[in-house]
């Protein structure tokens, strides 16, 4: 399943701002990303799929957009 990944803040510095990935579900994507960028294992980040925060595993459908979001610092 090809999905779109967008990353923000300090996470984007590690992974790049946006890229495509191939994964069937969120847990697989996360472990693939940690294999590729081991430092991610030490970083705190929230995940949104199609602009909704997701706390558990999520089965992807084609063209889903996954956002990797480090702790917020607006204001």
């Amino acid at each position: 399943m090809v999905i779109k990944v967008i990353a923000f803040g300090s996470i984007a510095e590690i992974t790049g701002k946006d890229f495509s990935a191939n994964a069937s579900d969120l847990d697989t994507l996360k472990s693939n990303l940690i294999d590729q960028f081991p430092i991610l294992a030490e970083r705190k980040f929230a995940i949104a799929v199609n602009q909704k925060l997701v706390n558990e595993n999520y089965i992807f459908t084609e063209n889903d957009t996954v956002a990797l979001m480090p702790p917020y610092s607006g204001g």
Partner: protein, 156 residues
């Protein structure tokens, strides 16, 4: 039962954009206050302004913050905050502006403006909005030091 599209349209307010590039000019804030002169049921305004602070960390001074946001999600979240605030407090109006891009130390990066008949509602709503913005909106501030190194800010 057939649903009425008209009713649905009437109920959902449009999602407002809160972002603009660069610092929020003091003149914009003054104009915003002036625009409320025609709304004569207002008896109280409450304003919060966030200003970029020249923090010193390990001998290095912050010269600016560069803001980025997940704009679509931030606007959606702000819409939800707005709806919740309007149902909790009796406000006449509410305005929120947040900077994107570079804002130098001493410049304004956040402007929250609430108005109501009496002071208590405006003050309480304004404070709650600021707290919600810091907690809920996907916005990131990159603190840029005078030597051009940087670190990522984290809200506490």
């Amino acid at each position: 039962m057939a649903s009425s599209p008209y009713k649905k349209l009437k109920m959902s307010k449009p999602i407002k954009n809160i972002f603009s590039q660069g610092p929020i000019p003091p003149s914009f804030i003054a104009d915003s206050i002036a625009k409320h002169a025609t709304k004569k049921d207002i008896g109280a305004h409450s304003i919060f302004l966030g200003q970029v602070r020249a923090d010193v960390m390990e001998g290095k001074t912050v010269s600016a913050i560069e803001y980025t946001a997940y704009e679509e999600l931030a606007s959606q979240k702000m819409h939800e905050i707005r709806e919740a605030i309007f149902s909790k407090y009796q406000l006449t109006c509410m305005h929120v502006h947040h900077s994107l891009g570079l804002v130098k130390a001493g410049e304004i990066c956040l402007f929250v403006f609430t108005s109501s008949k009496h002071r208590k509602m405006a003050i309480a709503a304004c404070e709650e909005i600021v707290e919600q913005i810091k907690l809920e909106l996907p916005i990131w501030g990159k603190e840029i030091f005078e030597d051009e190194t940087h670190q990522w800010k984290e809200n506490k």
